[in-house]
């Protein structure tokens, strides 16, 4: 696959479950290879889910060399990196034929706004169908190429994505405000402008 960017992320707690990050344009091709390669044969996508990563400042230690009193010495500096918020779709792949796994495949969106997308892997593994719908429903990731992308658990007409970390549950637990003045006023506070992109902070 020319041009594919693949990155391996280490997992400190469970080292054998490290994950593979593929860029979005090559995801379907990479998934097809994972499924069809005779040595991998990852024919079974067990678990599909989303993760919401907020904007975050990550501290990292960097070694720097500096001149002190005319002598070059090594210092350890702590620099702050800003990790922009994004959403992730995570796939756990196994092989039913060769009985090995899991391989963790991650696709990442650009940011956390309302219109974010990753390619759908339902054409590769049918088991992603309902699970991608669930991720779309609860996280708001649009799966480009999904045959039937609708909300799975929340009702049609529901606006928000409840599994996002910045979701605020309404006071009356009804999307449609009941026609009482105080409840209506409180509900308005939570739904100020539906068109404003979420997580834009």
């Amino acid at each position: 696959m020319p041009g594919a960017r693949i990155e391996v992320t280490r997992n400190p707690a469970v080292p054998e479950q490290a994950s593979l990050r593929v860029n979005r344009t090559h995801a379907v091709a990479a998934a097809t290879v994972l499924r069809d390669d005779p040595e991998l044969r990852l024919d079974y996508a067990s678990n599909v889910t989303g993760v919401d990563w907020l904007d975050r400042v990550v501290k990292e230690k960097v070694k720097v060399r500096r001149l002190v009193d005319g002598e070059e010495r090594e210092f350890e500096d702590v620099i702050e990196l800003r990790r922009p918020g994004h959403l992730e779709a995570v796939y756990h792949l196994y092989s039913m034929e060769l009985k090995h796994g899991p391989v963790v495949l991650r696709l990442r969106t650009e940011n956390r706004t309302d219109r974010v997308w990753v390619p759908s892997l339902t054409p590769v593994w049918r088991s992603c169908e309902f699970q991608e719908r669930e991720v779309y429903d609860l996280y708001g990731i649009e799966f480009a190429g999904h045959p039937d992308l609708r909300r799975l658990l929340m009702w049609e007409g529901f606006r928000d994505h409840p599994m996002r970390k910045d979701y605020v549950a309404p006071d009356d637990y009804e999307y449609e405000p009941t026609p009482h003045d105080t409840v209506l006023a409180r509900a308005r506070e939570h739904y100020p402008a539906p068109d404003k992109p979420k997580g834009a902070a």
Partner: protein, 397 residues
Amino acid sequence: MIMERDPVPVDLPMGSEGPGYELLAKPGADGETDLLEVAMGPHHPSTHGVFRMDVVLDGERVVKLKPVFGYLHRNHEKIAEGATYLSSMPYTDRLDYFCSMTNNWAYALTVEKLAGLRVPERAEYLRVILAELTRLQNHVCLVGFLVQDMGASGTPLMYAFREREKILDLFESLSGSRMMCNFMRFGGCRCDLPPGWVEAAQRVVDHYPRFLDEFERFLSGNEILMARTQGVGRLTRELAVSAGVTGPMLRAAGVNYDLRKVDRYGIYDRFQFRVPLGEHGDTYDRYMIRVLEMRESVGILRQALRDLPEGPVLDPKSRLRGFKPPAGEVYGRIEAPKGELGFYLISEGGTMPYRYRVRPPSLINLTILEDLCRGHLVADVVVILGSVDIVLGEVDR
């Protein structure tokens, strides 16, 4: 880290909030027959809970079927992300409320994998015993419901419930609750067995094959059952694998994939048992697989009750309160009675998980419901759904 920016491909259709859900076909130009759209559920006795199937019928044949979920959705995952690790344990009971013991085990196993905890020998045996008892009562109820759905009102179901009640009595004397057991802990089990429990369990297990023989004598060769199930809802191997179908449904389609053999989690490598496989993948095979699995479970139970060692049931060093697993992520899974029950946890080193996900076997086994039902009669839809074995507490979470 510089974020990549991929251009949005033009040829991929984007999903939207739009309707996209026009079930009933517009009347065709040829105008042959009218199609009828029927909502089966959410309050329909055959759906085993609040679940709806939107069915399009041509006469009595199913043309299309779309399952509709979410009536029991309470966002278990969100709640668990705002709670400590241990306080999600009782909530896992409510997922598949028939099998709280295996739900507990799947969650405990995942957290143990994340934190690197060890489980004492006696607790491992206890877990196997409880999981296999759960499998017995789940499968027997499933068969009872399936036969009930075919119109045998009550009697076989009551026979099944009579046996289930004996197992639930064992659970109650052990954990204090028949169904919401909340029994497993990270690094073992909550408490040791009460006196006389092993003997009582032994009596239940010894009686079980006799009950199964009796049950099978009435059902397995029953003409009505065979006519209603054989050749109905056939599932092919390829579709089953691709659609991620797990558990008895997968093995009824002839795929040899049992996590007790594949992953050998816990101490399942110490027991002798066979994995029954189906040949046709139809509803009758799915019925038969459950009966055969119960017989194998009885075998595992006999071995486990015989070998049950003495010792502690909870690692004395395990800290339940203020429990903080190291940062990282983990996916753990077990063979629950309904299929592969998995938990996916992301820890950032705090007392609460950053991400908590349940992989529900019932939901994913429903992916192929439309493929199974297409072309069959409405009455067969009820039977096919009955053989999938769903619990809505787990489907909707």
